[in-house]
Symmetry: C2
Subunit: 247 residues, 2 copies
DNA sequence: GTGGTCATCTTATCATACCAGTTGGGGCGA
DNA sequence: TCGCCCCAACTGGTATGATAAGATGACCAC
């Protein structure tokens, strides 16, 4: 999944998509401050040179993201995304307007990963059983074979955790994992280098597999924590030495 | 905030809102299976008796929630929300079609809370300082005064954690907290009774305050874990004795 | 089997109405 | 002068028409 390819799918974004992205960025960058009113739909459609329907579709998506509040008869008002928005907004906060990675956002998501991973591993060990252990074992075998290709290891590592999350029998973990994964994807290439040490920690993944096979939740928790701390520390070191990095 | 009142605001939901909710429910309940095609927009607008614009706005919101994939010229196809949707979907999974609480969803969200709360407390202790400690101390004082009213304690308890999360200096924690909070709100009244023991654990909150004041992250982590485990265990006991509960 | 053409689906966009709720200011009465 | 009410001018919400353009599968020539 998501193998690097010389071809990239051409992306045509619809008008409402463009409008949505533009407004979302202006809200996230605080150019439109919380409490302020948006221009009316008619003004927006004229200013942006698009149909009012396109504006309305974008507005509906902003409302869905809890970036604005809608009241019939009055203007749409901008909300404070720190108080209202959900985890889905995280990908939008990772890169600033010049495409540079936000160190604070990276630290945040890595902290969340460190908080969840041990419990995910523990839950998987509790519910996964022999079937999960076999699946993980097979993945680990593939990783040992792909030892030279860090990008492949990274993909396999992701699949490993995806399997753990799916087996954790926890819908919240699973949905949060999806949200976080979409954040990673934006800087997937950067992480390949920075977190290489974690992707090569097959011994740590092996400990998780053995804990799952044994149904030992505590051992899985410890092994999971040790494993993700490798990448976290590596990333902290990188952030400490370079204040910012181009994507 | 969110005080019980004999009056509830009349909810007039727009057509597109109705369409969105109806389609979302059918997808979440697996009546529309992953991979299946949605009827065309014109068919939907005719079948539901609304204009195409309303259907289109609903479709855009489903796309935003990653419940469907949109391609011009082809039918919209339903995605597997377990693989695609984000944490924002959690509130939709808490109640089944008859309004009963899903035990699995409750256990899931409580597990996630238990995973995040210790690290939130630790991060807050690291970054909060004396200002946060004073704020928490004031909240705690209010709670001691409101000792007889469990509902008030519940609200204060929420404010307590909201302050911790805001001070944690972690955008991911904050956004995830918002998402989870919207899930709780649906069963806020039920939780008042079930988690009463946690809301009355002022000693535990006091330990967190002292750890924050001392800047002791590890103490805050331990105190946070102990505190939320109270509610979690209480909820587990309730779920174990009663298989389901009406809302 | 490979590639091209075409009819016919679909969504995407546009334009223009009109309905419904909010707001604010001006006029009226006390 | 003060307070109230009403109306005009906003706002978003709904409805319906048309045109453009992508997706798809049947079909055919090579």
């Amino acid at each position: 999944m998501s193998v690097a390819s010389p071809f990239r799918p051409v992306s045509r974004q619809s008008l409402s998509e463009s409008v949505y992205l533009q407004l979302k960025d202006r809200i996230v960058r605080r150019e439109l401050t919380a409490g302020a009113s948006l221009p009316s739909e008619r003004e927006l459609s004229e200013a942006l040179g698009v149909n009012r329907g396109a504006v309305r579709e974008a507005i509906k998506r902003l409302q869905q993201s809890r970036l604005i509040a809608v009241r019939q008869g009055g203007n749409h008002v901008v909300l404070d995304y720190l108080d209202e928005a959900g985890l889905e907004l995280l990908p939008s906060l990772l890169l600033d307007k010049r495409g540079r990675v936000s160190g604070a956002a990276v630290r945040s998501i890595m902290a969340m990963r460190s908080a969840l991973a041990p419990d995910i591993a523990a839950a998987a060990a509790e519910h996964g059983g022999a079937i999960l252990a076999a699946e993980l074992q097979a993945l680990l075998k593939q990783m040992r074979a792909a030892d030279s290709d860090v990008g492949a290891l990274q993909n396999h590592c992701f699949e490993f955790w995806k399997a753990l999350v799916a087996a954790s029998d926890n819908i919240a973990f699973r949905l949060a994992f999806n949200s976080m994964q979409r954040t990673y994807r934006q800087v997937w290439g950067l992480l390949t280098r920075v977190m290489e040490a974690e992707f090569r920690d097959l011994a740590g993944l092996g400990r998780i597999v053995r804990a799952v096979a044994a149904g030992d939740a505590e051992a899985a928790r410890t092994a999971g924590r040790r494993h993700v701390e490798i990448g976290r520390r590596a990333l902290e070191r990188t952030l400490d030495t370079s204040t910012g990095e181009g994507a």
